[in-house]
């Protein structure tokens, strides 16, 4: 059975003039990029915009892709930046958001569109809680725990030292658990040894 061509091969074919290779590259990564954007932005329309922008950027920059990092790492970096751009655009247009919403996603409690991820209450909790934690923590957690990037890959995507990524992932998980209300459940378990102050 023939294996599908790796990303590098598709990129090489595209740069040699095979536009179908680019289509295959997009189709291969569409799901991954969209879900990354959906979890970073928490809104299906914004995620679609950011994912669309991501692939346009990939297209315009692909001839400058040097292959120093894996294509997926490079693409994640573009996608994360596209999400930041969408967030910035939304902050400049607060009147388009719901009244009282402002630029504080912390206030938002649910996905604005029906989302298969919402079928389970626990899933809804974690998806909503993701929107309530600081952006840099959310990005690190999404890359490591939802996109399954290694810490090394996440560090390259974010252009920060690997220790910084690990710290953000830990702090992000803790913040997420607290936003989900897990703290009260864990509190009893930890109470016996809680004399020490951090």
């Amino acid at each position: 059975m023939q294996h599908p061509p790796p990303d590098d091969e598709l990129i090489r074919r595209f740069l040699a003039g095979d536009t179908d290779a680019f289509t295959r590259l997009v189709e291969r990564h569409r799901q991954r990029v969209y879900n990354l954007c959906l979890r970073l932005l928490g809104d299906a329309d914004d995620a679609a915009d950011a994912a669309q922008d991501t692939f346009v950027s990939v297209f315009t920059k692909l001839d400058r892709f040097r292959g120093d990092a894996a294509f997926t790492t490079w693409m994640h970096r573009i996608a994360v930046n596209a999400c930041y751009d969408v967030t910035r655009r939304r902050r400049r247009q607060p009147m388009l958001r719901l009244a009282g919403d402002g630029d504080a996603p912390v206030e938002e409690t649910g996905s604005p569109v029906p989302d298969p991820a919402d079928e389970l209450a626990g899933t809804r909790d974690v998806v909503a809680a993701l929107r309530a934690i600081p952006e840099e923590f959310r990005t690190a957690v999404v890359l490591a725990d939802l996109q399954d990037l290694s810490y090394e890959e996440a560090a390259k995507v974010l252009d920060v030292p690997i220790g910084t990524v690990k710290s953000r992932v830990h702090r992000g998980r803790v913040a997420l658990a607290r936003a989900m209300g897990l703290e009260s459940r864990e509190h009893d378990r930890a109470a016996g040894a809680s004399q020490e102050q951090a």
Binding site: F22, Q52, M95, A117, T123, D145, E183, E186, A198
Partner: protein, 249 residues
């Protein structure tokens, strides 16, 4: 007391830590209630995240880039635009010739599903539209939903593109420089891959001044239009595609 946050993430993963680091971390955890509690919380968050399923991505994502990739050329800019203009002119002629025959025996012999679908919906005479020659100015503030709605409003019909007074030439009348610059603006974003421009709207998209181009597209030269595409670009930066949507005819 300092807390080894950078080691805790890997510990929570249950992954391998170098022996020295693991021993030092476990000594710290034995005496630090704060870190023990955080590890328990973080592991709870990890379990919750593991249950988050992927959401199906809309198939339209990436289509703007694919259209641009399909329209790209390594030829010099002036040469590429000559090619684009020739392609558009050829498409107009082909559409004008073929669309009135949709639903006839000859058309019915085509085996392609897309063509069959078009025939199934195109029971009446095709709607005649002209290639855009001017700008519609609207006060509308579009968003992704209303752009998609605009695309869908063209669905379920067959179209014939009539040749305008200018014949096959897609170049607007010289006196309409605003249309000329706007259609060029959209054309740069579309890179020639969108089809025949039948409407050009000056409006806003989520508050940003934008041009909306409505295009009829066909799967190939000589084939009837099977889709309508709406492309939205920033007025002040034509390279920035704000949104796009398409609908089958």
């Amino acid at each position: 007391m300092t807390h080894p946050d950078d080691l805790l993430a890997a510990y929570e993963d249950g992954g391998a830590l170098p022996d020295g680091e693991r021993a030092a971390l476990e000594r710290h955890l034995a005496t630090c209630a704060r870190c023990r509690e955080e590890v328990a919380l973080a592991q709870g968050a990890r379990r919750a995240l593991a249950g988050v399923p992927d959401v199906e991505a809309p198939a339209t994502i990436g289509q703007t880039a694919i259209a641009r990739a399909g329209g790209r050329s390594r030829a010099p800019t002036w040469y590429r635009w000559v090619g684009v203009a020739a392609g558009v002119a050829a498409a107009i002629v082909a559409l004008a010739l073929l669309l009135p025959n949709v639903g006839s025996k000859g058309a019915a012999q085509r085996a392609e599903p897309a063509a069959a679908a078009a025939e199934a919906t195109a029971t009446g005479p095709p709607t005649t539209v002209s290639a855009a020659t001017g700008i519609e100015h609207q006060g509308t503030n579009y968003d992704a939903m209303s752009v998609a709605e605009l695309a869908r409003s063209y669905g379920g019909r067959a179209y014939a593109v009539s040749l305008s007074a200018g014949g096959q030439d897609q170049t607007p009348a010289p006196q309409d420089s605003a249309f000329s610059s706007a259609s060029t603006c959209l054309g740069q974003a579309a890179a020639g891959g969108q089809g025949v421009l039948i409407r050009l709207v000056d409006a806003r998209f989520q508050g940003t001044p934008a041009f909306l181009g409505v295009y009829l597209t066909s799967p190939g030269a000589g084939q009837p239009a099977n889709a309508v595409r709406v492309l939205v670009v920033r007025k002040d930066d034509c390279s920035q595609v704000l949104s796009s949507a398409w609908a089958k005819l």
